[in-house]
Structures are given as structure tokens and as C-alpha cells.
Amino acid sequence: MSHSMSNLLSVKGLGLSFSEKGPDFLRDVNFDLNKGETLCIVGESGCGKSLTALSLMGLLAPSLSRRVKGELSFEGQSLRFQDQKKLQQMRGGRLSMIFQEPMTSLNPSFRIGDQISEAWQCHHGAGGRERALEMLERVGIPDAKSRMNDYPHQLSGGMRQRVMIAMALVNNPSLVIADEPTTALDVTVQSQILKLMNDMQKTLNMGIILITHDLGVVAQVATRVAVMYAGEVVEHASAEAIFNDPQHPYTIGLIASVPPISGPRERLTVIPGRVPLPGSLGKGCRFAGRCPFATEICQTDPPVQLMEGSHFVRCHHAPIENMKESAA
């Protein structure tokens, strides 16, 4: 599974705490991404998805970015310990980001054409407006020539997200991090945007990290999936394996929570309890408090990542089949 030749991004042991002795908001986060692949990071609100993205982009506040631990390597270069200038060149160039809120992520004072062309010009110099027009046409903005001169407030949400995508892709990045790019959009627009990102990915052979909590989206686009819980990656595998053979009790719970479209109406399945607050994290497994399979060892020892081929699970009881049998 891991072709070292096409390896684009590798994250090893990423950790982050808000203060010297404070709890870890991110702990031992590991994942890899190859060119042309889509990695979906899923998990409920507050599990550290966005923090992971911001750490990768180097967009954390300076006081926080000093506390980032671990190895982040992108195209064979470390993303940490880079001087600001170099990081700045990388941002928007090889490495770029699409934000969650298209309504507020564009500068209201500038025409969209100017904003896209600026993104090009700060990496390449001249020729931004021609390039911006071309990108707007590529992302499917009708009548792009006159739309160039529109202000963001004159566009709909879906249009703005297309503009954001044009801006993120204007410099041919090899990795795009999309932080819930479709959450603010309605379902039809959402599928158009996902299709657009998919098409652009094929043309550019870029890697995409898609942060989402929508398992429907994951099923549509993911090559690989990383499930996060309370600042840790609890399971990391191919999309197929995650949906057909989930190993971590949390992943199983997540998939079971998606209401089925057909069949009789029943009460929705939920995972009891809530995400623990960072201050109350114990030494053991972070999911132990909500886990139906938890035993004594789960309370005391942090589970190590267990590997079966390219399927990573952070659970003492993996593979879970044995557990289900003994429970039954």
C-alpha cells in the first residue's frame, strides 16, 4: 500500500498541547497520503480535525506552533523548523487550503478576480488576471469574464466555494487541505463541489485531505480514512476497510449512527456519553469511558497502534471480532 515513490505527506507522532504541563490536544497522530489520493479525516466536533489541518499549514498562533511535536514531512521536506519565509512560499504554492465558510473566507473589499490573481502573483509575479479568468472557467463559474469583477457578496454560497477552490488551486498545489468545504452548502451544491474537487484532483494528480464529519461524503470520495477521537487517530485504513470491516469500537459506533435510508423507522443509534474534556483525559484509552468493550487494561494503559497490513487500530482488543464473540 505504501509506495514510497509517490508518498506526498507523512505525519508521524504529531502532538500539540496548549501549555507546558497541560493536556495533549493532539496525541500521536499518524497518517500518510500519496499523490492523487483523498484522505478523509472524520470525527465529531472538537476531536482535533481542524487543529491537525492548521498544524500542517503552519497556521497556528505562534505561541501554539511552538508546542507542536512530531514529524511532518511533505514532498520529502520537513514542514517543521522551516523559517517563516519558506513556509509562506509553500503555503498557497505546493500546499493549499480550502476553508469551511465560503461566506466569510473571501475579502469583501476586493473583486474576486483580483483575489485569485493575487494568490497567483504572490508566487509567480505577473499574469494573474488571465490566470484567474482561466481558473474561474475551470471551476465552472458561468460567464466568468464578467464575474471576475464581482464582489464576494454578489455571489451565492456555492459560487463562492468555487471561487475559494479556484484560489486554492491557482498555483497547481500538490496537496490541498479542505476543512469541511461543503458543510455550509446545501446537498445539491455539495455534490457539485465534491465532483468538482474530484475532477480537479484527476487533472492535477494532487492529494486531498478532506476534513468532514459527514460519512456520506467520505463514502463518496475517500481513498483512505483516518478516524479521530479526542485528539488521536483511532483508526486509519482504506475507505473500503473502514466501511466493511471497522475495527475500532468508535468507528463501529460512528457507522452505526448513520440512519439507514430504507427499512423501518427506528430510534437512531447513538454512542452513549460525550467527548471527554481535554482536562479529564486519563492515562488509558481515551474512548474507554464510552466503549462497550472496555476492560481494566483500557482504563490504565494507552493502547498502541496495531497494524494489520495497512490497517491501523488504536485498541487493546483488536481485532474486534474476538471481542464480539466473547460478548455474545
Binding site: G92, S105, F110, A119, C122, R131, K145
Partner: protein, 295 residues
């Protein structure tokens, strides 16, 4: 990896250029109150600029045969206590008053806005130092501070403008800082960083334009205040020095002859009123026109 082929730049046509008439200008032109303000201000500006070429009498020449004459054909606005033509003095005085208003506000904006941006964007120690100094200045009443500074610098129009500019600066630091705090937290600033823009460029292109509208409105309103402040300083003898005219110093002299020659006080009073009103209306018009979110 495949690069997206770039289009042939030769075929780039005029549509790629920005539209020549800006939206803000179009909106301002249909804003009748703002236009009225602009006309009032423009009227005095044109008079002040044309002062040297208008067929006016010498504003400092005295005529002992025509002391404190009421308005007549020889002297349209009358004469003052040593027989100087008031029309001529009003128009030459407009130069001092308008200059004082605009220059002192320019000083306040040029010093205040960058300090406010630094304080708001970088926070921490930078913010603490700038904000405490601003608060110390704000603790003193505007006019008292201007009078103290002008007295300290010595009486002249230039020093009066400097004094008013420095006294008006804290308001601009305050407003800018507050605006920057909101704007810097906006998603588009973060997305600008994600695109790879440098901090100076983000400040110039993303922060400054979005904090500018309220500052511009404040600036036009402050021009009005500054004109009154200059009049006050000149009234106290700290601004324009005699015999050169300014509306404030003319009022100062006129107060001694209110019962014998009320027109001496009337004209500068009306002029100050109209210019101040004009700048206020202009400020309102600009606010509406510059807001990119309103249509």
C-alpha cells in the same frame, strides 16, 4: 504532475481590465445628502484656491475712512474695525481654516492608523504599550490637549495644525485597533495566510481596506472638529497670527464689536457652520458609498 496550461496572454482583451467607473463613485453620485455636503465643501475649497486670482481687495490693507461699515456695494460683506474688506478676509481666511482642518486630520490619520493596525494585529506587548499611551492621551479633553500642545510649540498656524493633529490622533488609533481586532479574526485573513501572502501584504491588502470605511467617516467628521479647533486656537491667539486672516481670529476680534458691527461675527460664524455641516454630510455619503456590502 500535470500543469494547467496557461492561456495565451495575447488574446486577453479589455474585459480583463477593471471597469473604469468604480462602484463606490457610482453609489456616491446617487447619494443626494452626500453630494450636498460635497458641494458645500467644494464651494469653499474653490474660493480658497482661487483667492489669489479673484478681483479682491487686499485682505490686510486698512482703510480708516471705512471703519466697521455695514455691507454695501463697495464692501459686499462690510468692513472690520480697522477698515479691512471682510469679503476678502473671509476668502483668504478660508485657506487657513480648510488647510488647518485637512492637514491636521492628515497628520492624525497618518500617525494613528498604522499605530492602530500594529496594536490590533500583533497584540501582546505592542498592543499594551500603544493602547496605554492612547488611553493616557484620551484622558485629556481634545481641545485642552490641543491648546496645551499649541502653547508649548509656540503660536503659528503650522504649530496649531500639528497640535490639533496630535490631539486628534488617539481617536484614530482607537478606532483602527478596534476594527483590526474584528477584521483580523475574519476567515478571509486566515485564507490570505493560507494562500501564502506575507504579513505586510495582508495588512495592506486585507486588513487596511476593510478597516478603512469607518476611519474615513471619522476623518471627515474630524475635519469639521479640527476646523472648529483651529478657530478656537486662533480665537485664543494660538493659531493664525495677525494680520493674516482666519475665521477663528476674525471671530476673536469680532466679539469686541458685537453690538456695533454684528456682521463681523456673522460671516465667519456662518462659514464655519456651513463647512462643518458640509464635511459631516460628506462623511455620511462616503460611509454609504464605501461600504462594499450595501447596494
Amino acid at each position: 504532475m500535470t500543469n494547467i496550461p496557461t492561456t495565451d496572454t495575447a488574446v486577453a482583451d479589455t474585459v480583463l481590465d477593471r471597469p473604469s467607473e468604480s462602484r463606490a463613485w457610482r453609489k456616491f453620485r446617487s447619494h443626494s445628502i452626500g453630494k450636498a455636503g460635497a458641494f458645500m465643501v467644494a464651494f469653499f475649497v474653490i474660493l480658497a484656491v482661487l483667492a489669489p486670482v479673484l478681483p479682491l481687495q487686499d485682505p490686510v490693507a486698512t482703510d480708516w475712512g471705512a471703519v466697521r461699515k455695514s455691507p454695501s456695494f463697495a464692501h459686499w460683506l462690510g468692513t472690520d474695525e480697522i477698515g479691512r474688506d471682510l469679503l476678502s478676509r473671509m476668502i483668504w481666511g478660508a485657506r487657513a481654516s480648510l488647510l488647518a482642518g485637512v492637514v491636521s486630520v492628515a497628520i492624525a490619520v497618518i500617525l494613528g492608523v498604522p499605530l492602530g493596525i500594529l496594536a490590533g494585529y500583533f497584540g501582546g506587548w505592542t498592543d499594551a504599550v500603544i493602547s496605554r499611551c492612547t488611553e493616557a492621551l484620551l484622558a485629556m479633553p481634545f481641545l485642552i490637549l490641543a491648546i496645551a500642545l499649541a502653547a508649548f510649540l509656540g503660536p503659528s498656524l503650522t504649530n496649531a495644525m500639528l497640535a490639533i493633529g496630535i490631539a486628534a490622533m488617539p481617536v484614530f488609533i482607537r478606532i483602527t485597533r478596534g476594527q483590526v481586532l474584528t477584521v483580523a479574526a475574519e476567515d478571509y485573513v486566515e485564507s490570505a495566510r493560507a494562500v501564502g501572502l506575507s504579513t505586510p501584504k495582508i495588512l495592506r491588502r486585507y486588513v487596511l481596506p476593510n478597516v478603512l470605511p469607518p476611519i474615513l467617516v471619522q476623518a471627515t467628521l474630524t475635519v469639521a472638529t479640527a476646523i472648529i479647533a483651529e478657530a478656537s486656537l486662533s480665537f485664543l491667539g494660538l493659531g493664525q497670527q495677525p494680520p493674516s486672516p482666519s475665521w477663528g481670529s476674525m471671530l476673536n476680534t469680532a466679539k469686541n464689536f458685537l453690538s456695533q458691527a454684528p456682521w463681523m461675527a456673522l460671516w465667519p460664524g456662518i462659514a464655519i457652520f456651513i463647512v462643518v455641516l458640509g464635511f459631516n454630510l460628506l462623511g455620511d455619503g462616503l460611509r454609504d458609498a464605501l461600504d462594499p456590502r450595501s447596494d
